[in-house]
């Protein structure tokens, strides 16, 4: 509740793990575009910036900004024309299954292991990450300072 007595909307968080494997659909044609295969995370912005649809040679990327809806059954893409080929090392690694936040080792900036990422909560509309979850801890996403093919690096713990 703010000073004016109005309720502050609380974004609904969804589990990243729950989105992996669900189908993606074109909003304009209702065509099935393939299963969601991964999320590209920008650690500096603490958000998912793009999604990988399909696998291997058939993998395509779609930017978070071109999603029109994320639900329990499907990720809806505004139009299939927004699908594009993976570009850059990170997207290519994601398409090949060599990069993924889920299952990534968690390292602190002090060089100590903090387990691995079991799941992450995010805002489906913006892709903003709220929490990282390991087997033993729930970590505010603002403690994520780096992420790559070797590890997700966090402050604290």
């Amino acid at each position: 509740m703010n000073a004016g007595g109005e309720s502050t909307p609380v974004p609904t968080a969804v589990s990243l793990r729950s989105l992996l494997g669900i189908k993606s659909v074109s909003r304009t044609t209702a065509a099935d575009l393939g299963p969601v295969n991964g999320a590209l995370v920008d650690a500096a912005r603490r958000r998912v910036v793009a999604w990988c649809v399909g696998k291997g040679r058939h993998a395509r990327m779609v930017d978070q900004s071109h999603l029109s809806g994320v639900g329990a059954a499907a990720v809806v893409v505004e139009d299939e024309s927004f699908l594009r080929s993976p570009a850059g090392d990170a997207e290519k690694a994601l398409a090949k299954g060599r990069l993924g936040l889920i299952g990534a080792p968690l390292l602190t900036v002090a060089g100590n292991s903090a387990g691995e990422v079991y799941d992450a909560d995010l805002d489906p509309a913006s892709g903003e990450l709220y929490w990282l979850r390991s087997a033993t801890a729930t970590i505010p996403a603002d403690r994520l300072v780096g992420y790559g093919s070797f590890a997700a690096v966090i402050t604290g713990l």
Binding site: V109, G111, N112, V145, G146, S149, L157
Partner: protein, 291 residues
Amino acid sequence: MSGTGGTGGTGTGGPEGGPGPGGWAPVGPAETVLVRATELTGRPVVSITEGEALGDVKDVVYSPAAGRLLGLTLNKRGGIFAGPMKGVLALERIYAIGQDAVMVTDGEAFTGHGEHHGESHGSRGEAMNVLGNEVLTDGGNRLGVVTDLVVAIGVLGAGLPIDPSARTSGQARPVYPGDVVGYQVTGDATLGARAGAELLVPLPFTLAVSGANLLVPTSVEPFIRDDLSGFDAAVAQFRSRLVTTEPGPGTGPDPGSGPGRGPAQGPGGPSTQGGPSTQGGPSTPTGRVHK
């Protein structure tokens, strides 16, 4: 790698840093943990901001005169066929040496152009291989042959408040990550029951070295330990002793301070040797111990 927790900290800042406006805020050095240098071999060197491994630790580069690591040499990642990387990852470019990884702020930390810390620090000394060197006391006793180094690890942070002259002046200071605080030696035959055993010898702030010999004060003998448990305390007590001009009654080594006390010395302790005559120097807390 197994470990045992210990006590004490040395730092001025938080151990892990915290989020700041730009993402995260590097901190100063924090509490330390003691490990053998050989334990660092194989640990990945990871870029904090990129989450990528730049290589694996191959070896440490050590300056006995500085009493610190100068840096690390690395192997490329990729298994036994990967091979070594050229150059040295200088200690100043390392953010933290942790239990599981060595952390650098970004991928530019390792230049791979043969950067040599010793060249830029002149009086702080050059790298030297001390493995196989004899450790002698200034009383002329042979303690053994160096088989490993005992290194303090932890968060080095954005910069260490280390006065390069502190080591050579013998001034006491806290133990910082990157400090080499002891040698592991194979006990000399003259040590009786400890002959052939792997012993940990605390190092003073000042150390006389040559190509083959490392000279330590005779007063180190009561502080020699058999393992890393309690070695941090032994180092602190030994170094504190060195900066005390006139050790009074009860300032000798604590008989119960740790396992494996060295050759017999009374509770009153030996006279101060090998250290400067600095009145009332501060104690030198060390960090936790990692076996």
